[in-house]
Every structure is written in structure tokens, then in C-alpha cells.
Subunit: 338 residues, 2 copies
Amino acid sequence: MAAVSIRDVAQHAGVSVGTVSNVLNRPGEVSAESVRRVQEAIEVLGYVRNDAARKLRAGVSTTVGFVVLDGQNPFFGDVVRGAEDEGSKSGIAILYGNTDEDPKRERMYLDLFEEQQVRGVLISPYGDINPRLERLRSRGIAAVLVDRFSGDGRFSSVSVDSVAGGRMAVEHLIATGRRRIAFVGGPFEMRQVTDRLAGARAAAENAGEHIDLEVVATDALTVADGAAAGARIIARPRSQWPDAIFAANDLLALGLLQSLIVDGRVLVPDDIALIGFDDISFAAAAAVPLSSMRQPSRMIGRTALRILLEETADPELIPRQTVFQPELVVRASTTPRR
Amino acid sequence: MAAVSIRDVAQHAGVSVGTVSNVLNRPGEVSAESVRRVQEAIEVLGYVRNDAARKLRAGVSTTVGFVVLDGQNPFFGDVVRGAEDEGSKSGIAILYGNTDEDPKRERMYLDLFEEQQVRGVLISPYGDINPRLERLRSRGIAAVLVDRFSGDGRFSSVSVDSVAGGRMAVEHLIATGRRRIAFVGGPFEMRQVTDRLAGARAAAENAGEHIDLEVVATDALTVADGAAAGARIIARPRSQWPDAIFAANDLLALGLLQSLIVDGRVLVPDDIALIGFDDISFAAAAAVPLSSMRQPSRMIGRTALRILLEETADPELIPRQTVFQPELVVRASTTPRR
DNA sequence: AAAACTTTATGAATCGATTCAGGCTCGATT
DNA sequence: AATCGAGCCTGAATCGATTCATAAAGTTTT
């Protein structure tokens, strides 16, 4: 109803629309007097810039799309928070999409973001979406991969060295005397999962003695899947239990923990040690405080958004891979009280 | 570069731009032949609708803003997820803003959403933002309050009966034999906090015998604040400990739990029973599985978005308050093993 | 005092989709 | 045969901010 446009502001201030636009976008080029009168008019009329018109004409967007793999995972909550912080510095808002590891949803959100002509896209991809991202790029929409190394270097990425993390986790288990280790994780379409497993394998092979490394596959990285995997493991005869479990993320680990210690069937870490990945804030508060590989989640989000903005400012920039090192956080779940 | 517009599609299909627009928006009014040719042209040229132009001319937006109080809290993650699910049915995307209980950020996001001319706003408000929301409404942007009852009925809301929840929680504590109860929560600007406390008070007063109900204030509803409050409590002489704690949400409760049981100083629930609010998915996996008041978080999000869309479709609708009942979930933190 | 710049302001053209008054065809009705 | 209406289609006008060629006013240089 109100519908105050730049024209109304111009009239009220007694200047042209061009001048109002200049006050809004390059106040330096306008006389102090004009700036004052325009600002007063904006105040009086309650003018709010119409972003659609602005975007249409100027082709600049103030939103960035973020496609997240698993919104239930506090890890991604932290990453989004980091991106949001960085974005709010420059008036960038985040269009949020949660795929829950579903390629259809992934595509849907990328389509949506393309129509919206977002400034760029942050994405923790599930499948292989390079072709989709190439297409976005050809329309001037940059993309930065989050929590996923861009192997072919076609896009910038911000991630943690999952292979190193997997290695460090299993080295820690071996160093604390474990020899029969189970890797719990899946699906194996997820690069994060295969990388962490690869690191685990490397650690097992370089141990200098024989290490059993078995793989227990899950359908997804959720608490429920972790609990199911745990139930499967302890259903075996006790002699075939692993003496340590490396879970591909903390949600799995927390689910595993729950199903292992229920009824006191299994002592953690005495019977089975347990380590997760991500170090979400609930890991420390778990039934048995959970050892984990910490990712600098908030920093990942901040950095990803910063790189995205840099790239949209200068499309000539060469994609760069930012890799943080994960950090081993040792808690009770891998350190038997003696 | 590509920049395929509706004009290019029209040309390729040998029809006018009006017809292309009709195919896009009301295919029923166009001959089958035209529909076919236009769709083929769209396919061939890789046309993607320009949402900015559409929004400018038609005044309809495909985004909804969601201002969340605490993005770190998995409860809100679930609520957002519910809204997202409901939105994706009708091609609505969510612009996400996290205020972290900061009124400045709250205002910033509402400004941003106003510029964006979002279809509507879902908000779990911190302070009193009715004036801001009234203003948005006067510009045709509807708002629905989430996790907060709209006392004056000026806006629709979707929430859980926090007073009843507080009452049920404390009734449960009393029924299990507790008499010296501490309510831990804050800040008291948050309606959720004062409501839960009011419910707790009601339960204490109606107990039929004397119940001590003390209030331990916190700065925010976080794990860290919970841990700090716990430390303060057990720093007292043991005789002045409460025998039960009702925490205003699960994050506080998990923090409390951590600081209480560290070094085995306090037995939970034997020395102090503990109940939280929200029943986030990590409550069940806590060191001592946490009793809590469950909120139907995902349903809250779905419902809020549905109501918002209904209201934007028909602005004459009278605001309605949807209140779900919380559900007591009893776990080990309030049930002493005998 | 004229020429050459600077600084500042103007307002029409533009971005791309939607809308709508008007036009064309063709069969049905009178 | 004339009139009417249904069904489709057309294309100019429109939404509101930005941009840019042009101009006016003021300042410095020669």
C-alpha cells in the first residue's frame, strides 16, 4: 500500500531520481546538502529500497545460497553460523537449503538459487554436481565447496583434511593399544566418508604390526544409523567384537555409544573404545565424553563465504583449495581409567 | 553471458512474449501446440526465469524469511527443517537469519527481509518486535511468531504451551519426591523463560505441601551458561543444594549435567534430579539420559509456514494461535535406580 | 577574459517478466 | 448473410532502481 519509491523520495527532497540513487550508492559524488535532504526524505517517508528492482537493473544480488548436507547435524549449524557472521558484515543474507543427502533436493535448491540469481552458492555436495555448478558459473554464479575438497580444482573449496583426520583418529586408537578396529560410516558416495576411511586404512597399514580394520556400512550419518550399527555389532559373539570403533562422524558415534552402553552390556572405553569426527558441542556432554576429530566449523563457514565474495568480485581469480587440519580431542571414550 | 530472456524464447518458438509468459503461468489458456513449442525452446535455450523481474512486476516473492533465536540449538534446526519441508512443496525457499538473542541482529534481519520483499516472515522473537512486524504488515509482509504465543492476538503464532510444560516438569519432580527445586534459566526478557518459570511456580504452589522453588538466573540458554550455573550451585555447602533442577531448555540442562557430574561430585539423579525442555535429539544420548519436555519441533515449523502461506494468500484471515502441548519424556536423569 | 576542467545534477533508457486491452479466426446462432 | 462469442494470440505499458550521456554551475589555468 505505502509503496514509497525512489521517485517519491526524489520529489520530497526536491532532487532527481538519479541523485537519490547516487546518495544511496555513491554518496561521495553528491553534495553534502543533497545527501542531507535525501536522507531526511527517506526518513520521513519511510522509504525502503526495492531489492528486486535493484537486482534486475544492476544485476547484483545480496543473497548467497547455502546448500547443506544435513541440517540436523550441529556441525553444519556451526558452519552456517560462520558464513552468516561473515555475510552480515556486508549485508549478505543466506538462502538456506537442506538436502538431507538427497540428490533431488540438491538439484531443486540449485534450480531455485539460479532463478533467484544469488550472488553465489556455498555447497556441501552429496553427489557429483560439477556439471550443475559449471552451468551456474556460466551464468555468473560462483560456487565454493564446503567440507569437501575439490579434487580437480575447478572450484574453490574449504574443507578439513579428512584423510589426515582419519589417520590421526586410528593412530590414536592404535597408540592406546587397540588392534581390532571397526570403521562405521556410509554411504560411500560421500567423499567425507571414503576419505576418512582411506586415512584409517593408511594408519592401519603403517602401524608396523597387524591391525584388523573392518568396515561397518551405514545408510546415513545419523544418530539412528549409529545406534543400529551398534546393535548389529554387539549382537555378535563377544569374541568377534572390535576393541575400538572409529565413527565417520559424531552423530554416528553418539548413536553407537547409546546402543553399546545400554543396560551396561559394553564398557566404553574398556571393552570398546570409540572416537568420532567433527567434535560437535554435544560430544563433550555424552554419556561417556566422546573423543573426536575437531573441525574448525565456524571458521570453515566464514572462510568459505569470504572466498565466495572475493571470487564474485573478481571472476578471474583462480580457484583455491583451503584445507584446515583437524585436531585430535581426547576424552574418556578412548582413555580407560586405570 | 548467456542471459536468455523470455524474448529469446518467444523468438525461438515463434510466438510472442505474452504467450511464453502464459505458458509459464497459466498453461491452460494456451493451445497445446504453443505450449509444446515454448517448452522446447525453453529446453533448447536453457532458459531460466528471472526471479527479480518477476518479483518486481508481479509483486510475488518465492522466499520466506526465518529469524531464529539461537541457531546453535538443535531445536531450532528441527523447526527450520519443518518449515523448509513445507516450503519446498510450493517452491518456497528460506532466507535464514540467526539473531543469537541480539536485538540488533534481529532488527538487521527484519530490515533485510523488508528490502527483499519476502513473502512473509517466520520469527522466534527475542524482545518486543510487534511495532516492527506491524510495519512489515503494512507493506504486505505477513509474519507468524514461532515458539512464542502472541498474547495480544495481533499475529498468528505457533508455539508450545510453555506454562503447561513448566508445570508438568515440576509436577513430575514433585511426584518423584523432590522438594527443593531450582529453576535455572534466563534471560527473563525471553517469554519462553518466564512462561516456563510461571508454570513451575504454579506446580509448586498447588503441590499441597511446601515446595522450595529457587531461581538461578543465566545470561543465555547455552551449554556454557548451564555449566556455569551448575558450578555455582555445587560451590555451595551441600546442605544448600537443591534436590532437583528444572532447566529452561536442554542446552542448559546438558551444561548443568556436565558440571554436576564432573569428578563424580554429584550423583544425578540421586543427589540432584534434572529435567530440561525441548527434548533435542542429544538429550537421550547424554551422560545421564536427560528427562525433558518434548516439543513437536518439526511440526511447529511446518505449521508455521503453512499458516504464513495461507495468510499471504488471503490477508483478511484473522490471526490464530496454534498451541501444541508438550510431552513429558522421562529418562534416567529423574528416575533414581533403586 | 577565454579556455579547460571539476563538480554536481538531470532524466530518459534500461533490465526482464507480467498484464491486459485489443485483434484475429472460426464455428455457432439468429 | 450478418452477428456473436469462444479461443488464442499479440505487443506495448508497467514495476522501481540504476546508469550514463548531457548539461549547468563553479573553479582553475593560461
